[in-house]
């Protein structure tokens, strides 16, 4: 055996990383004079302990699933898409334009069209940097991050101009028509006799995210296009030699990536806010990078990592609420610590664990 078993790669290493992260953030909590065990308990209980907490956790997880999948698809073609932030924002404009264009009779009719609007706009916003990369060699990392700023400016322009609700000072659109209201978890589960919290923003987009995860898996590992994407990512020269068009793969993978990032707007803009606001993405585009890293660019890993990050976001809020001594900034430090250990410092754990397995194998 020259590799460690798969279960160690997928389960053990993330768990060890997570433990280290908890220990490190525990020290931070200790340093400000609070009980770290209590802090962790509050976070976990706050994230999973009630249907309201769970509803928020899964709502955030939905966002991270979309952006995590977006990063993963591009990454399989060795495109580092860090423009999820901007792509989601522009996709929000697409979804909003579709929703506000008609007085939708029913959400089931509005949803597919809103998805199309969001996917087209988000995909387009990723396709421009993709074209520049494929044709001009402009580095995708630079262009996608610059497109985040352009997207923010475009949003500001639109929400203070043509799309602005004239009755408010806030940069936001008018409220969406009632026909475009997506069913929330409360509304979906009530007929089954489950009383899910009414206030939690979890909505049908969660199922859409799971469906997207399945589709991404199917695309990458069960279709010819997915094979081309992965082949191109593994070896650009080899793929070209096999007759795979670099231009086509870069354009398609980035378009899909942007479209997936754009699905975030269905969850937030259509599902929760029911109006377009300026800063609705709130860093989820960047969290997606950490999610994809931690999930090892596999849909199942991404789903699990998203739920963990959702727990962190919601648990962090509960921590602010239950332990007033822990400020917003300390919560951010704890969240950052977990991201650091599970994402960037992955190899710190991987090396020793791998060695340990090899030695055990030799000894046996």
């Amino acid at each position: 055996m020259d590799k460690m078993p798969r279960w160690a790669d997928v389960v053990l290493i993330p768990l060890i990383s997570l433990m280290l992260a908890f220990i490190a953030s525990g020290l931070v909590v200790l340093a400000i004079g609070e009980n770290p065990i209590q802090a962790i308990t509050v976070m976990v209980k706050g994230a999973l302990g009630s249907t309201s907490g769970l509803g928020y956790t899964l709502y955030y997880a939905t966002n991270y699933m979309f952006t995590g999948l977006a990063v993963a698809v591009a990454f399989h073609a060795r495109m580092f898409n860090i423009g999820g932030e901007g792509q989601a924002a522009i996709a929000g404009v697409g979804a909003t334009l579709v929703i506000l264009a008609f007085d939708w009779p029913h959400w089931a009719l509005a949803l597919p069209f809103a998805i199309m609007g969001a996917a087209l706009f988000g995909g387009f916003w990723a396709a421009v940097p993709a074209y520049l990369q494929a044709k001009r060699g402009s580095h995708i990392v630079i262009t996608t991050i610059m497109f985040n700023f352009i997207a923010a400016a475009v949003m500001g322009f639109l929400l203070n101009g043509v799309l602005k609700n004239p009755n408010t000072q806030n940069a936001e659109t008018v409220k969406f028509p009632a026909g475009a209201h997506l069913p929330t978890a409360h509304e979906m589960l009530a007929p089954l006799g489950i009383n899910f919290s009414k206030s939690a923003p979890l909505n049908i987009s969660f199922l859409l995210a799971l469906l997207c995860a399945f589709l991404v898996w199917f695309l990458l590992w069960r279709t010819r296009l997915g094979y081309s994407i992965r082949a191109f990512g593994q070896s650009e020269k080899g793929a070209k030699y096999a007759g795979i068009s670099a231009f086509k793969i870069i354009m398609i993978s980035m378009f899909i990536s942007g479209a997936l990032a754009g699905m975030l707007s269905i969850n937030v803009v259509m599902g929760e806010q029911e109006r377009l606001i300026k800063e609705f993405v709130e860093g989820a585009g960047f969290v997606g990078i950490a999610v994809a890293l931690m999930g090892r660019n596999h849909p199942v890993g991404i789903i699990l990592a998203s739920i963990l990050f959702g727990m962190l976001t919601q648990g962090g809020f509960e921590l602010l609420w239950e332990m007033p001594n822990i400020s917003k900034e300390v919560v951010l430090v704890i969240q950052g610590m977990i991201i650091l250990f599970t994402g960037a410092l992955d190899y710190m754990v991987r090396g020793p664990v791998e060695k340990l397995f090899l030695r055990m194998h030799k000894g046996a």
Partner: protein
């Protein structure tokens, strides 16, 4: 101070774990954060003053995400906190949804009107305070040209500008007022460099007093005014101490007063409009040891006279937001 905070925090945790004893008040700070040197911080000051004077406890939370607006409102209301105060107009639509679900809880929102039977909407007559500082600007100006630098171009800031111009013209009908807005996006609240550039441009056109109503952008305006040796007027908090000798005055918008009053009223907070003008001490001009050498006795007499007349209703300062237009330019 830190010890005090710790103590207060511990007391708050205790109160909570004891099953929320209550009707303690609560305050929610907007995404800008509690210590933004401006709006949110002023609200915090009011809450702190209430706690110090009454020995009472209050709960606070700083938001980190848009989705938390409704979440925080519901959590406070469910836990029995009363009243729940929030800073800023961005809360309007969330409050509009949450308020009907908690008819026994009183809410107060600052800078915005939410029409619900258990909500107090606190709005300010910024035009009245701006009128007074406009008068002072016109009297202090030697060139007869004064400037105004606004933040984001929204009706609220035009309300500041309009009151200011009315004050200037009341003293000197021939005066010129140069008006600039920093931008049309929220970034305009936080661009001190551009604030400084606009100020330089206004100075080049002859302005020798500038009034900044632009959040953090205003700090650049005040700095440039001090560097170029002209006078500046601050906003919201008393900013006179920033550049003594160059700060003519500050137009104070007492967000802290609104929070203090709401906390003091407790569960008996009166719903409806709460319009704070000169008469209610909601807005005022700042006069302290930092600007007493710049404000001549005649100036002070004239401004205090106008203030009395506005309170008495003899002078009516036009409110830009009442008809979205300004009678003077």
């Amino acid at each position: 101070m830190t010890l005090m905070q710790k103590f207060l925090g511990a007391a708050a945790t205790l109160a909570l774990s004891a099953g929320a004893a209550l009707a303690d008040p609560a305050i929610i700070f907007d995404l800008g954060g509690k210590f933004d040197k401006s709006f949110n911080e002023a609200a915090f000051t009011g809450a702190k003053r209430w706690a110090e004077e009454t020995g009472g406890n209050f709960r606070e939370i700083e938001l980190t995400s848009e989705a938390q607006r409704e979440q925080a409102l519901r959590r406070f209301a469910e836990a029995g906190y009363n009243p729940v105060v929030m800073t800023g107009f961005a809360f309007a639509s969330s409050l509009d949804t949450v308020a009907p679900d908690f008819p026994d809880t009183k809410f107060a929102i600052i800078d915005m009107v939410v029409d619900q039977p258990n909500v107090q909407s606190v709005v300010y007559k910024e035009q009245e305070g701006s009128y007074l500082v406009g008068m002072m600007a016109a009297m202090a100006s030697k060139s007869g040209t004064v400037g105004f630098v606004g933040g984001m171009d929204i009706p609220l800031i035009r309300k500041f500008a309009c009151g200011y111009v009315q004050g200037v013209k009341a003293v000197n009908p021939d005066a010129t007022v140069i008006q600039n807005m920093t931008g049309t996006t929220p970034a305009a609240w936080n661009d001190p460099v551009k604030g400084g550039e606009l100020t330089k441009a206004q100075i080049a056109q002859g302005a020798d007093v500038v009034y900044a109503a632009a959040g953090s952008t205003g700090l650049g305006v005040l700095q440039t005014a001090a560097d170029e040796n002209i006078l500046a007027i601050g906003v919201d908090s008393n900013q006179n101490y920033l550049h003594p000798g160059h700060m003519l005055t500050s137009m104070m918008k007492r967000v802290d007063v609104a929070v203090y009053n709401a906390f003091s009223a407790g569960p008996d907070l009166k719903p409806g409009f709460n319009v704070l003008g000169l008469a209610e001490g909601g807005v005022d001009y700042a006069f302290d040891e930092y600007n007493k050498d710049l404000v001549t006795p005649e100036m002070k007499a004239a401004v205090d006279d106008a203030k009395a007349k506005i309170i008495a209703g003899e002078i009516e300062v036009h409110d830009y937001m009442s008809d979205n237009s300004c009678p003077v330019k």
